[in-house]
Symmetry: C2
Subunit: 316 residues, 2 copies
């Protein structure tokens, strides 16, 4: 078992112990439900990895790690209401199982709970941890839901996914009392890795096999403005451009499978996958560069290097 | 101009200056809209009063005071979604003017902003201020939406309204570095005053004149389980009991005005207003007793004593 797996198990154990009682059952049950469904607990494990990297006591990083996990699940809960999503991790979402009002209130309660947990750090690091957490929460919240340019798309996924990976690692580093510079490098590692990961997620949605549990082409059917689609819109000319616009228009009664096949064919012709892989590699290399510049021994960094590799190989 | 008025003006000025930009217009506009609509800014003014009571520098209490106001408006925003309320303070609510999704997201952003502002206090008081704020937010959030007994009703209004008044004052006291005991007494003053105020609000809904801008009998029409109604249900017997149950049942096609007239007649017969005034007086006296026990000069306490009197006379 590597360090990440060890930490993930430790987190799962603590989540089960988490006391969110003292609240009426109507709010307590949905919160427990959401937290029990699981997921890979990557973000809280990163808090512990960040702390361990600088030889901090990882047990001290547990409360903020749990806070990050509660916060992450809060964002999913409110996102699911807004996206009108019926299912999350193969289970009915809270607003489906209970009601929208229960989902709003439970989410708000989780948000406060997240702050309470994240604040359970030593006095000397309370303010930087808190400031970082609030800024991240605000950034993620303010992520634009509409986006046009590739730059905007990358900014969006940076805000939505990548900043929380960076923040998780940096909170761990702060708990371990790493210097601002070192903690900042670790943040950059997490953020750039997160962007690379998200680009790969877009790729897998079109080219991935079904082992990842996602419907192939789901993003195309949903008309989601991914990196792939935005790049295709940028590069397509002539007949490809006309065909792409026709497939993307919602009025013409094109079947989902026709849409997926047609758009994928244009992606192939324009080598969109190649472009995406190049972009992904760019961010991955940036991440690894930041990690290298951190002044701890290579052995100590191995856990995070392995994590990065595994994440990109979809082994976690 | 008394101290409360002075502080309220100061708050209004700071709210106008509050920088919530840096976010996309779709979220920034609703937040600015909500904050600009106004209200009496009582809660943030209480933060300043609490600070002033212990000779603290009130300018230092301004950021947490603004945080309390932003938080209060966040709760109204999410409550309005859940209550499906079209109007707040004579203006369309955010979910009406924009959308439910915008209202959820703007609310979440305000919540983070509130934490950021509340955290802008000296390091030595950061943790107690933060702990108090989180506990209050959780208490208010977990307020049960259904209630049956009078004790439960009073607990509910305590959680919903009164704890935030107590918290506002106590945060001011903490900023001024008052002792835990003194800050606790000030919290009790605010909490009990808040309960008395809410009971009076229930009374005015039935017996108040229209100068307060509320429709008379609105709570009766809505079937809201106020102190008055719960007390009437407790005391009514025989014909009164049958008549009350008939008026409260939703199926019989009773007009709103018939309902208000009928329920009010029963209230009168059972002297429900007398009972409510007695209860109100009890909480008011508790509040004043706590205020008296605070070890500062009577002159210094005058502002809060006046505030309490004015609040109960509905002059503010």
């Amino acid at each position: 078992m590597n360090l990440l797996e060890k930490f993930s198990l430790r987190i799962a154990e603590e989540i089960r112990r988490l006391d969110i009682k003292g609240s009426p059952a109507e709010l307590y049950e949905p919160v427990e439900y959401v937290l029990s469904i699981g997921g890979k607990r990557i973000r809280p494990a990163l808090v512990l990895l960040g702390c361990d990297l600088f030889n901090g006591e990882t047990e001290r990083a547990l409360p903020p790690a749990l806070g990050i996990e509660v916060f992450h699940n809060f964002t999913l809960l409110h996102d699911d209401i807004m996206d009108n999503a019926p299912i999350r991790r193969s289970k009915p979402t809270v607003h489906e199982k209970w009601s929208i009002n229960t989902a709003i209130l439970s989410g708000d309660a989780m948000f406060v709970k997240a702050y309470q947990l994240v604040s359970q750090v030593e006095d000397s690091v309370l303010r930087p941890v808190l400031d970082l957490f609030s800024r991240t929460a605000l950034d993620m919240n303010f992520e634009g839901r509409e986006n046009v340019s590739i730059a905007e798309y990358e900014r969006m996924i940076e805000l939505k996914t990548a900043v929380l990976l960076g923040t998780s690692l940096k909170i761990g580093a702060l708990v371990a009392k790493a210097s601002g510079k070192e903690a900042g490098l670790l943040y950059d590692f997490g953020r750039n890795l997160g962007i690379a990961f998200q680009l790969q997620d877009d790729l897998l949605d079109v080219y991935g096999d079904k082992a990842f549990g996602k419907q192939t082409g789901g993003d195309i059917i949903a008309g989601k403005k991914t990196y792939l689609l935005l790049k295709a819109l940028e590069l397509a000319e002539g007949e490809n451009q006309r065909q792409l616009n026709r497939l993307l228009s919602r009025t013409e009664g094109i079947s989902d499978s026709e849409k997926v096949t047609g758009v994928t064919a244009i992606f192939d012709e324009l080598d969109i996958a190649g472009h995406a892989r190049e972009e992904m590699r760019l961010y991955f290399d940036k991440a690894m560069d930041s990690l290298e510049r951190i002044s701890v021994s290579p052995e100590k960094k191995k856990g995070l290097g392995d994590f990065a590799e595994q994440l990109m190989e979809r082994k976690i």
